[in-house]
Amino acid sequence: MSLFWIPLLPLLGTLVPLLSERFGRSACALFTAILPAIALAIVLNLSLEVLQGNTLLQSFSWIPAMGLDLSFRLDGLALLFCILILGIGLLVILYARYYLSQQDSMSRFYAYLILFMTAMVGIVTSNNMIQLWLFWELTSISSFLLISFWNHKSDARKGARMALTVTGAGGLALLAGLLLIAQIVGSYDLDVVLASGDTLREHAAYPIALVLVLLGAFTKSAQFPFHFWLPHAMAAPTPVSAYLHSATMVKAGIFLMARFYPVLSGTELWFLIVSLTGLATLLLGAYIALFKHDLKGLLAYSTVSHLGLITLLLGMDTQLAAVAAVFHIINHATFKASLFMAAGIIDHESGSRDMRKLNGLWKYMPYTATLAMVAAASMAGVPLLNGFLSKEMFFAETLHQVALGSLSWMVPVLATLGGVFSVAYSTRFIHDVFFNGEPIDLPKTPHEPPRYMRIPVEVLVALCLLVGIFPGFIVGDLLASASSAVLAGNLPEYSLSIWHGFNLPLVMSLIAMLGGLVIYYNRRHLFQFQAQFPETDAKLVFERLIQSLVAGATEAHKVFENGSLQRYMVLLLLFALVLTAGPLMDLNTTAGLRPHLPIDAVEITAAVLLCLSALATMIWHRKRMIALLTLSVVGLIVSIAFARFSAPDLALTQLSVEVVTVILLMLALFFLPQKTPKESSPRRVVRDLGIAAIIGGIIGTINYALMTRPLTSISDFFLANSKTGGGGTNVVNVILVDFRGFDTLGEITVLGIAALGIFKLIARMRLFMPAGDENGRPWARDRHPVMLAVISQSLLPLALLVSVYIFLRGHNLPGGGFIAGLVTSVALVQQYVAHGVDWIKERLKIDYQWLIASGVLIAALTGLGSWVFERPFLTSWFDYFHLPWIGEFELASAMIFDLGVYLTVVGATLLILANLGKLTTSHRPTQPESE
């Protein structure tokens, strides 16, 4: 069970800051740290077993039919990352407590941060590829929220958008890659995938899968040419940069490459793509970092460069290189996180990050300066610090390169060049900020930060030193375990000592040191040279690209959606024509084998009336009142037809819906222009007539063909089981509230949402209200005639009685909650019509939104109620009782469900009609909405 808790605890922890904010900032930080700390304790507890070489696995069935499990694994690699994520995460929580100002919402920040932590832990512990991808996307989203934390700043929003777009697009490529791998291997399970490297590498689709997965990794880890988003993500608060952009998120791509190293690496293609990308990123990042005046900008490009270094190591053809990569992951996380935190302290206490202004801070904050200098020295690769060790391993490995053939000698040379620049920007970081004269008009006088803000930096710098001096003792086991996970158990011989004797890598280190110092000393010439290039802001380029993309999409969209209803209808109908015409032509005979039912005079009359009124609606569609009347004739005949062909429930529903619809249309027509212009040209009329005729013919054919063929459906099952299974003889109602109760629950929820949506749309709507009809005659002054008002009022109890009757008998005879709801609505709407909104407002104090909500709630609770009796959701119960005077009657849980349906229908109908009607009264909004 414990593995499952590692991601679950941080997930629960997302809520903690939101709940504990009221107890003050320190308490909030403390409470927030508790759950990740427990998770870390679990990880450390399990680490003993993992370090012995075991892989812990745990999985739960999720969607077994699709091969999806909730599955977690903890091997050496996952262990290393878990410790990094949770450990540095805890330090960042402490650091952020002092970094965030009073105006920043601490709980929101922590909630995002812990969400991100969950996502990262989820990635590294996932044992199922889909699950891994899910967490992968969650890191993109949570990092978007974190980068845009100061969402009042434009560059924060733009930077966040850019990061999300780039990493999100990479995530989609990754998904495609993972699905492809699953297709090839036949499982989403990481165990199976990791064990079938040969199958994968020999498959024809291997290059595609590789490129897709690498796209995901490179975008996430800011590899060239996707590196541009990382510097712009520096608009985030510094704790975020320290956490996401040095230690964790950008390492997710590296993790992915390391995770799939046993199955994807080992081919020419892998080495070529990965090592060249890594090399390019290493050089580019190191070079640009030197010229950044912004403290965080320098660190961002140096991160890009170091990520390139790790990628290059992963792309090399030796097993030792993979060990070096894992080692550098640890080292980079420690020194870079502490450097970011130091930069944050400097920014926080001096008000600037510009290295042209920040000078000579040694005098003001000697303690912080010492810490930052040690970390920067580690970044440069100075001996006795951890950065030196992994860099030595890196240099040593570059010498063994053969992948580039006769050009392989360039790799160590270029690696040394990267080292030279790395030393140069590290020197710049130290010298420009802490020495180099006096500060130049800083907003604040710099001073040391609060005591506890320094602790995270101290811890990390101490780690840099400890690892640098006692490497085998501190990280030896962890490194061995993680590396053997990357290499699938084939751990090579290596030694972690500081002194390997006087050899070529040491010479390369010395060259890098000296070269870096020389370059820094002559930096003015380089800066002048660099100043000749026009500066391109990746943000602007990116935004321009996105905007032109959006403009293009809008153009394409406009072609289809130009606001003309006629066009939509034509497109829809033509599409339907294309879809149906083919299959219908394949049908040999229209008529099936089923004999016709006899036709009598009543049916013929009704059919003729139906056709005539439909035609009349079409002919007089520009005279709206007449069209509405003929349309309601159509509705009436349809409901009579339902009654005739033994569907009394449908007939009742159709009838009441018809009434509501006509009222609704009358209200809508009131606001529309009184005169309908002639919009279609004769040519278009002919075209539309043609399309309509063909579609009508097709629908008629389909209906005829269907009705003349025997149809086996499940109606027989419903008829047989309605009484015994659902306790009602009205099959329609039993289907609604019992057999397909879940459908109905969904439907009333949709109905409620639709009503709320309409309410929201019309709540503040200001419509033109015509003062008279189309002939210019003003409206009658007698808005609420006395006779109508009196009779409507006296009809109300009768109508309500009818609706109660229809509701109660619904289970056994035609009726039910839906029809009863409509009848009640009609009765109440009648009161609105007869008395006006004011009159109703005083007497009927029901909030229709609440009515809808309680209806859905009652129905849902009825469903949940069956859990109390340990039955599946929405199991119904019924029994028969006997009371004196009343006789035998039935009680069913379905009736409570039906009550929910009833309330929702009443609420939804009235919410729409009453509010639309309100627009015609003095309650309509008259003031324009304030901007």
Binding site: R777, A780, R781, P785, I791, S794, L798
Partner: protein
Amino acid sequence: MNFWVELLITILLLIGGIFVLVGSIGLIRLPDFYTRLHAPTKATTVGMGGILIASMVMMTNNQGYLSLHELLITLFLLITAPITAHMLAKTALHHENRALRRTRSQHLMECAREQQPPKPADHD
């Protein structure tokens, strides 16, 4: 079914049918809106009443207990039909539909439209 019951039902149906027919013919044939307003009221009251009572007799005879649904329907019809006619008449007045020349007391239409009591001098 008993012959006399059948006879009763038949007579009631015939009465109802004739009145509905007469009402429908009247709706087409009568010369102006106000007179036409009279026709459907015959159909809805006596016409529908006859048919509904016929249904009541038949259902009572068939089921063995008194069927009262139809009475309720009649009740609704009797309450609503006059109001419908009233509203129609009000609308016609508002639209200033012309009445036949030989209609008596036409001057009252103006008062009704304006919702004013008739002037005493106008009595003829």
